[in-house]
């Protein structure tokens, strides 16, 4: 039974008790607790079930490396799964539930997997794919789906806010332990701007728990005084609760600040993502203790030795009354001594090393603790809780020499430097055989934009384990970083600690070394993903020799673990199975983030309305008030139609078309791209941009133009107007304005930079209204001002003037086939002009029309639409637009490409009109099928529909499509099979694509 001690607990305030709930139980903790320490203090050791076998799992660690104790936190709009109890600060009212079990934590049906574990070996998931198809569908998929995933997915919208901060610093120090503080002080003394990140709420790291003297002070006192010094330095910024999440190219780093996780709902942003540019980065990220691989090492009550010590010293919590310590190094003796000093029983220290004579071992013996040398834990007894251990010779196969009753096991397999941040951006590692870990190789660091090293490790992260070495290394790192970032080298001496006499650790990868298969199946390497020694050995036997392959096959070190606990032990087991040295096996890639960060922090402020700001035309509010049904077009919102009360969208669209064709319609065309191209070489430039000639366009006239990519494909279209001798105005599609502007800039800047041309995107400077229909001229004449008669302003001309007192540029162009004026007004006057048109048009029954009516009317006229008739593989010649391709011009973008044989192929699908025989509408995207079948037994495809509508004008379905040899097959009938499952084939006759007013008389009145 774990419990709260009467004393100890340097981080908790016993005068401030806090209430919280776990699985509905009301429990008590103290301010300063983590959720893990509070749970242990309240006697709750069992906190979850394992991923695959649903075995009972307890808290194993005390920090970011915890693999088991992940819980569902919060409720409703503050619910979040997979929250690590060891890094969750306790607050009053905290609500948590355990995850990955059914029906309850204590009794979980899924544990059946544990008993059939031999049938769920490494790669089980992949192996199911080799079984018959039916087995996957009916047997494996339901099992895998049922058991996949850890926590539950939140269903409610997150109520919290998140934000991004930007910081530019000379030196970023990641880690606020004694190494980080030492490095920060040294870097700060150089005058450099320093930012220090500490992932927990406390400065000092492990040193206050592990003890020692620094410059004659206890670690707590030294930390306090150093933090005070740093706080006084104007060039140093200190951040707690902020994890260095990742190091990226050229000195970029991310910090993850958990501002309000422990004070939910207090109005502050929950998380803040720090986007940091640093000249130099010091990683003082410490080291993580490794588990030992013995049978039953996952049973609740087996913990990392250092974590057990942390719980006693930091939070006054005892994970067990009677703890067996098992180790291969000196450090775990500190745990034995700490427990003993707290009045707890330590019946035995099991040390795999023969002949242990170090000072710490002597101190343990002096304290009355028995040390069993050269011994191993053969097996841990217990189910939901440790009840005892069998002791065997480490050199043997595990025959029990002694049974020891205990309720906790403290294990230590040695320490591994946290090299994640060093490695994120390419820092290389060396294998240190003496200490059995990978350590950063300072001669192969991550390099920056100038080829310079920009990451330096400090303290334990460098591989220094003894306090004196940690301080000396960190001081050196801080000075070096300060200097490299342009500061002056400080001359202050490094903090000093006494050297310690330690006995060399001995690598132990399996305990005991000769353990048989039954034991190896119970030795966990990765506790979170349920990967055991036997799984990695099986992967090696099945040919997974690369560590990266083994990782994916077995899931070793995946998910939130990211190799923190499992990495080295797994590599060692794999190396032994492959009969090679650990450095030959290598390590898996360390990728950011160090521990998971929230999606909210990544998104920051970019949510809801700010995720992607909407572009609005000057008339947007009018459309909104008129009840427009919106359609997103690029970043714009355009009215699709304006349904009246009781009207369907289809009915509204048909009404808008008929009204425009018979009387008067208005279209908000402001979103149309408008690019001014100006300069002595503008005509020559536009001749390159467009397939047809623009340089010979007369001032005052308009011409429809096509733009192709250099690969020949049609990319945009629009009407070009010649404004004056060296100025053209190019209309682009709504979605194309920015793209075509960039396209023009690219060619001007990078190919024809000696041509004198300017391009300006004036799209948003003008509101544009299309006034369309037989009464269009009448309404403009009613507004009064400029002469808009046929003689004064013929079709495909434009003129500047005034209409109803508004400055207007009027283009006589038509995308509907009707008499049509497109009128550009300064954007600020757009809404007023729109209102004036509506008022003047009332007597003609004016109605606005939306994009769908626009589409139908252009389709009735056989006009193409970029994105419907084109898809990046269509050339103008496919669309019968040869008339718009200059034969006189020597060159234009796409000309050379269109000369290629495939572009000239007579078998290319070409544009035709399609008229259904029964008057129905061909489904969108339907394919036309021809005679015979292809090699897969599918019907041969001979074309496809590109635009298909019900035409209210013609009262029948009309369509355009690309059909093989289409223009040569006028009058023939082709079939379009539907995909609604009825087997229906829609039959359509191939006709001219111009369905309405073939001679263009209506637009030219």
């Amino acid at each position: 039974m774990s419990t709260r001690l009467a004393d100890h607990g340097r981080l908790i305030d016993r005068t401030k008790p806090l209430q919280f709930q776990f699985n509905g139980k009301h429990l008590k903790g103290y301010e300063g607790d983590t959720l893990a320490s509070a749970l242990l203090g309240a006697g709750q050791l069992l906190v979850g079930r394992s991923f695959k076998y649903h075995r009972p799992r307890g808290i194993m660690a005390s920090g970011a490396e915890e693999p088991n104790a992940l819980v569902n936190m919060g409720q409703g709009s503050r619910f979040e799964p997979n929250q690590r109890t060891t890094t969750t600060e306790l607050f009053d009212g905290l609500y948590a539930t355990s995850q990955n079990h059914w029906p309850s934590l204590e009794f979980d049906v899924g544990v059946i997997n544990n008993y059939v574990a031999r049938f769920l070996p490494a790669g089980f998931y992949y192996k199911t794919f080799m079984a018959p198809r039916a087995a996957w569908k009916h047997l494996f998929e339901p099992i895998v789906r049922q058991s996949a995933g850890l926590g539950k997915v939140p269903t409610d919208k997150d109520v919290d806010s998140y934000e991004h901060y930007y910081a530019h610093v000379d030196v970023l120090v990641v880690g606020g332990g004694v190494a980080g503080l030492t490095a920060a002080r040294a870097a700060g003394a150089s005058g450099a701007r320093v930012l220090v990140l500490e992932q927990t709420a406390h400065w000092g790291g492990r040193a206050p728990v592990d003890g020692g003297d620094i410059d004659g002070m206890g670690p707590d006192e030294w930390v306090k005084s150093t933090v005070e010094q740093l706080e006084k330095m104007e060039n140093v910024t200190l951040l707690r609760r902020t994890m260095g999440a990742g190091v990226y190219d050229h000195g970029y780093a991310l910090g993850y600040e958990r501002i309000a996780d422990h004070t939910p709902g207090d109005g502050r942003p929950r998380h803040r993502l720090w986007r940091i540019r640093a000249q130099q980065i010091v990683t003082a990220t410490g080291a993580i203790e490794r588990p030992l691989s013995f049978a039953g090492n996952d049973i609740p009550g087996v913990m990392l030795a250092s974590a057990l010590r942390d719980y006693v010293v930091n939070w006054g919590v005892s994970p067990g009354d009677r703890t067996v310590v098992v180790t291969n190094n000196d450090d775990a003796y500190r745990t034995a001594l700490t427990l003993k000093a707290a009045g707890l029983d330590v019946p035995l220290i099991v040390d795999a090393r023969p002949g242990v004579t170090s000072a710490l071992a002597q101190a343990a013996r002096d304290a009355g603790i028995r040390v069993a040398e050269g011994k191993a834990v053969a097996k841990v007894h217990g189910g939901k809780r440790v009840t005892g251990v069998s002791i065997a010779a480490q050199a043997g196969e595990g025959a029990s020499l002694e049974e020891v009753k205990c309720d906790a096991v403290a294990m230590s397999g040695g320490w591994s430097p946290v090299v994640h941040l060093w490695s994120h951006c390419g820092g290389k590692l060396n294998w240190d055989a003496q200490n059995a870990f990978f350590r950063p190789d300072p001669s192969r660091p991550p390099t920056g934009a100038q080829g310079q090293a920009y990451v330096v490790t400090a303290g334990s992260a460098s591989g220094a384990l003894a306090l004196a070495d940690v301080l000396a290394d960190a001081d050196k790192a801080g000075k070096a970083a300060g200097k490299a970032a342009g500061g002056k080298a400080g001359r202050k001496a490094a903090p000093k600690a006494d050297a310690e006499e330690t006995q060399k650790m001995e690598p132990v990868w399996i305990m005991p070394q000769g353990a048989g298969p039954a034991k190896r199946m119970k030795m966990w390497l990765d506790f979170q993903n349920d990967v055991k020694v036997s799984d990695v050995q099986l992967a090696a036997r099945e040919g997974y020799e690369s560590v990266e392959h083994t990782k994916r096959y077995t899931t070793l070190g995946m998910a939130t673990d990211q190799g923190k606990l499992s990495n080295i032990n797994g590599l060692a087991v794999l190396s032994n199975a492959l009969d090679q040295e650990i450095p030959s096996t290598g390590t898996t890639t360390f990728r950011p983030p160090y521990t998971p960060i929230s999606f909210g922090a990544i998104a920051g402020e970019a949510r809801g309305a700010l995720f992607q700001p909407i572009r609005k035309t000057p008339m947007h509010d009018w459309h909104e008030e008129a009840g427009a049904y919106w359609e997103p077009v690029g970043h714009w919102r355009r009215a699709y139609c304006y349904p009246k009360p009781g009207e369907t969208h289809e009915e509204a669209v048909n009404r808008e078309v008929i009204n425009t064709r018979e009387s008067l319609g208005l279209l908000d065309a402001s979103t149309l791209g408008k690019l001014v191209v100006k300069g002595p070489d503008a005509g020559r430039f536009l001749d390159m941009m467009y397939t047809n000639m623009m340089s010979n366009l007369a001032v005052g006239k308009c011409r429809y133009g096509l733009m192709c990519s250099e690969n020949g494909f049609l990319s945009d279209d629009g009407v070009v107007a010649r404004i004056d001798e060296d100025t053209w105005l190019c209309h682009t599609t709504t979605g194309g304005a920015d793209r075509i502007h960039a396209h023009m800039e690219e060619w001007l800047q990078t190919e024809w930079w000696d041509w004198q041309v300017y391009v300006a995107n004036v799209t948003e400077q003008f509101a544009q209204v299309a006034v369309v229909g037989p009464n269009a001229r009448k309404v403009l004449e009613k507004l009064g001002g400029m002469d808009v008669s046929k003689d004064a302003l013929a079709f495909m001309q434009w003129a500047d003037g005034q209409l109803g007192g508004f400055d207007a540029r009027v283009y006589r162009i038509s995308f509907s086939g009707e008499l049509s004026f497109e009128i550009a007004i300064p954007a600020s006057q757009g809404r007023a002009f729109w209102d004036a048109l509506l008022e003047a048009g009332e007597e003609f029954g004016v109605m606005p029309y939306g994009t769908e009516a626009l589409h139908i009317m252009r389709a009735e006229k056989g006009f193409i639409m970029i994105g419907d008739e084109t898809d990046g593989t269509v050339i103008p010649q496919d669309l019968g637009l040869n008339w718009a391709i200059s034969k006189k011009k020597e060159d234009f973008l796409g000309k050379r490409a269109q000369l290629r044989t495939h572009m000239q192929d007579p078998d290319r699908w070409k544009l035709v009109g399609l008229e259904t025989l029964d008057g129905t509408v061909i489904p969108d995207g339907a394919y036309a099928v021809g005679e015979g079948t292809n090699e897969n037994g599918q019907k041969n495809v001979i074309g496809r529909v590109t635009s298909t509508y019900y035409s209210p004008t013609l009262k029948r379905g009309i369509a355009m499509g690309l059909i093989k040899h289409g223009p040569d097959r006028m009058g023939e009938v082709v079939g379009f099979p539907t995909i609604d499952g009825t087997g229906t084939v829609v039959k359509a006759k191939i006709v001219d694509p111009v369905f309405y007013d073939t001679n263009g008389e209506k637009q030219n009145v």
């Binding site: 800039e745 990078t750 000309k895």
Partner: protein, 107 residues
């Protein structure tokens, strides 16, 4: 995240302020060119492990295209320079060669 100095406005620009434009110094082949020349112009691109001359546009800044010499392995940026050039500056080439004696050079 890469960082480049825009040679036009002098800003040290983050990668997110820039748009990549692929290999630099590609010669355009228009009408009159052979199929091989045109294919090479349109599709063939160098993909060196090492020094690469490439185009970037300071799209969320001054809007200008510029060129950069960047090592695709170490990500070292040797220099950024004007896009209005047909080949890399001689001084840049010798500086890169000096730093990487094994480099085969630009062609």
């Amino acid at each position: 995240m890469l960082i480049f100095e825009c040679p036009y406005c002098g800003v040290m620009a983050d990668e997110t302020d820039l748009a990549p434009g692929g290999e630099a110094h590609i010669k355009r082949y228009g009408p009159g060119s052979s199929d091989d020349e045109f294919e090479s112009y349109l599709f063939a691109r160098k993909n060196p492990k090492g020094v690469h001359f490439e185009r970037w546009r300071h799209v969320s800044g001054c809007g200008k295209w510029f060129h950069a010499a960047r090592d695709t392995v170490t990500l070292e940026v040797y220099a950024t320079y004007s896009a209005q050039t047909l080949e890399p500056p001689k001084a840049l080439l010798s500086a890169i060669k000096k730093k990487n004696p094994e480099w085969e050079g630009w062609s």
